[in-house]
């Protein structure tokens, strides 16, 4: 019998020694080109656009409203009283707190109105105070109700808190000049 010799296969191997080098190079490129900057800021939802002819005036009781007016000189009016910007937070906090247990159609509405010439920075500072007031009240509520911080709340607890303390910030309709 004739033995058929199997042909020996040449060993097929891809040299992987330089693989690490190549991937390091790629890694370096992405490391350098990545910008992990998180956008931070004050979030808000604008009211729906309603043409002037369709606008209706809905009467809102006075104790629900917190009207914040900022004029071009930087004077701030909260419910027709002159107030300094850093005082807004404490002032609003009391009012938000007093409405925690009221039904949802009786919660506080903060309305912010500015002049065309008002400085943008002032507007942000005022809005920051309003947001800060809400955040602090929420924090206190979470602490007293669930003895947790807001960020540790479960979904249901979070929903309950947001129902009790909704953030209603309204940007007033600009006036036609």
């Amino acid at each position: 019998m004739v033995k058929i010799k199997k042909r020996k296969m040449g060993e097929a191997e891809i040299p992987t020694g330089s693989m690490a080098d190549i991937s390091f190079l790629l890694l370096l490129f992405f490391l350098v080109s990545t910008v992990i900057d998180v956008d931070t800021g004050i979030g808000l939802t604008l009211p729906e656009f309603v043409p002037e002819s369709d606008q209706e005036l809905v009467p809102i009781s006075k104790d629900r409203m917190a009207a914040l007016l900022i004029n071009e000189n930087g004077d701030v009016l909260l419910n027709k009283e002159i107030i300094a910007i850093p005082q807004i937070k404490d002032n609003l906090k009391e009012r938000i707190k007093s409405k925690i247990e009221l039904p949802s159609n009786k919660k506080l509405i903060v309305s912010v109105k500015t002049d065309r010439k008002t400085n943008y920075n002032l507007y942000i500072q005022a809005l920051d105070q309003v947001k800060g007031a809400y955040f602090e009240v929420r924090e206190e509520y979470a602490m007293s109700q669930f003895s947790k911080e807001v960020r540790d709340l479960t979904e249901e607890e979070d929903k309950d808190m947001k129902d009790k303390i909704p953030m209603i910030i309204s940007i007033a309709e600009p006036e036609k000049i």
């Binding site: 956008d39 004050i42 604008l46 729906e48 002049d115 010439k117 942000i124 920051d128 947001k131 809400y134």
Partner: protein, 137 residues
Amino acid sequence: MKFEKKRASTKQEIPTASLPDIVFMLLLFFMVSTTLREVDVLVQYTLPEADAIEKIENKRLISYIWVGKDEKIQLNDNLVTLEEIQPIMYEKRVDLPNVIVSLRVDKNSDMGVVTDIQQELRKADARRVNYSARLKQ
């Protein structure tokens, strides 16, 4: 007398076979987290500072509007006029129903231009906005 050096009999090598895997894992992380297309900002601005700020987790939802010191408005890659905002934003809004518009406005600008932009955004029904601000130190 001959002195023989003491040598450890074990191998003195770090196994490098898994190195590429580790590096690839890192690479993958950076590739996924990178947003490559950075827009050239054509306006000069300084952001205002605030305390009660939130982070926006979902970067893909954001579209930016810049307002510079000279009241120039930039949307996406180029400078636009007020009237152009509405159609562009409306298209965006159709593609991405819950788009967040991040307003990067110079802190010394007037509210007039901001109000105008807001009116345009409301008409385009892109109503989620975010006033970009840095954390107060």
